[in-house]
């Protein structure tokens, strides 16, 4: 049970990370926001890769 819940958390993280990346790709004007999107992606990517 515990492992299944943990797997869900990776799915949720992947989902949110995908949304953020989608936004990053759609952003047309502000470089400011581009950088922030990438900063937010940092912990999510490393968590998904099971590095930290």
């Amino acid at each position: 049970m515990f492992k299944i819940i943990m797997a869900f958390y990776y799915l949720i993280t992947a989902f949110i990370a995908a949304l953020i990346f989608w936004n990053f790709w759609l952003e047309k004007k502000k470089v400011d926001r581009l950088i922030l999107y990438l900063l937010v992606l940092i912990p999510m990517i490393l968590r998904l890769l099971r590095i930290k």
Binding site: L38, I42, I51
Partner: protein, 384 residues
């Protein structure tokens, strides 16, 4: 715009690669532990709870058994993996100790997952090195809580089993709050449950849980003991003060604070628990940069000023609180606990030799007692 995005993505990849490699290296770095001449058996903790097998929460258990039967002691290091004096104390005993009577059981990295997790937001170094006669021995600097890679998510509040006391959500990953644990609970509850099983099945008499505590924390430089262990702890405290000239007062274990080793082990088994605290200035909030040096020598200008204003709970001067002193205190107190217990209960005596005491460790440094892994046969080396 596309060009900017690609440049930014490349920068991201570079940052992730560099830091990711460093963090991956930390999580997967192996510390060699040499099973010394006294080690007779080595098990994994999952021996006592098979569901732990193969997980990062599983950890080595070293047995040092004497020729003569006697009592049994369990020594826990790195319950909090950011208080490395526990690990070092355990390793000195594993690599040097020789047991004549009774059994010494040692779990050097009790929260194994936490030892492979760096603390976010607190700027710790990834590793620290102890100088030895044959070079430097490198250790991972861990965290107080287990890694979310091994236990995720946290509850919104941690409800202690079985007393239902509410504890911080962080404490669900803190193995000094999850005692006595349960077999089908969260991984850290399983770790403490496995240890309880060990204590009950092996009929352990004494459990010594080795920690470090901030100099601004009132419960530091002391032995925490519940009522059933208080007399032994007090005798030890008096003895080390008179014989070895260092302070280590006794703090009663609060009866209403659940989940701690010094409370639950005593309540849920026959064993007498003791929790040893030595001051670790590195963990204090008001310190300079969190460097490896501060971790090892415990010298800090802010703490020195606070000491002059009488805001610390331990004596503190320019010499700081070096690691050698902390490990030395822990070794002396541990040996003295065994000695006093053996004197009172001769049929359950535990006699161990070749483990240095306070003055020796302060004189030679703790690194002096670590064996060069390249000089022993590979089957004596356990990677943790």
């Amino acid at each position: 715009m596309i060009r900017i995005k690609i440049v930014l993505l490349i920068i991201l990849v570079i940052i992730l690669t560099i830091s990711g490699f460093q963090l991956y290296h930390h999580r997967h770095y192996q510390i060699p532990i040499v099973a010394g001449p006294g080690v007779t058996r080595v098990l994994k903790l999952s021996h006592y709870l098979p569901s732990l097998k193969g997980s990062m929460a599983d950890t080595w258990v070293f047995f040092l058994e004497g020729q003569e039967p006697g009592g049994k002691v369990l020594i826990l290091g790195n319950t909090h993996a950011n208080e490395p004096e526990g690990l070092l104390t355990a390793l000195v005993i594993i690599e040097n100790g020789q047991v004549e009577k009774g059994t010494v059981i040692i779990i050097p990295q009790f929260n194994h997952s936490a030892s492979r997790f760096t603390r976010p937001g607190d700027g710790y170094p990834l590793f620290f090195e102890i100088p030895t006669s044959w070079g430097k021995k490198k250790f991972r600097m861990g965290n107080r809580e287990a890694s979310p890679l091994d236990q995720w998510p946290d509850p919104d509040v941690y409800i202690h089993y079985p007393e239902r006391q509410l504890l911080s959500f962080l404490d669900a990953r803190n193995v000094n709050r999850t005692w006595p644990g349960r077999p089908n609970g969260l991984p850290m509850e399983q770790v403490t449950f496995a240890a309880m099983e060990l204590i009950r099945q092996e009929r352990v008499d004494l459990v010594i849980d080795i920690h470090g505590a901030e100099t601004m924390f009132p419960v530091t430089n002391c032995i925490v003991a519940p009522e059933k262990s208080a007399k032994l702890a007090t005798m030890v405290s008096l003895t080390v003060k008179a014989m070895e000239k260092f302070d280590n007062h006794v703090e009663p274990s609060p009866p209403k604070f659940r989940g701690l080793s010094h409370r639950e082990i005593g309540d849920y088994s026959e064993a007498m628990p003791f929790l040893l605290e030595a001051p670790i200035p590195f963990l204090d909030q008001p310190t300079g940069p969190k460097t490896e040096r501060l971790l090892l020598d415990g010298r800090d200008p802010f703490l020195l000023r606070l000491a002059r204003k009488k805001k610390l709970f331990v004596p503190y001067d320019e010499t700081g609180w070096p690691m050698d002193k902390r490990v030395g205190q822990h070794l002396s107190v541990t040996l003295e606990l065994l000695k006093q217990y053996s004197r009172r209960t001769p049929d359950r005596a535990i006699v161990i030799h070749n483990v240095p005491r306070y003055a020796e460790v302060v004189e030679h440094g703790v690194g002096y007692y670590f064996v060069n892994p390249s000089t022993v046969s590979p089957d004596k080396i356990y990677f943790n």
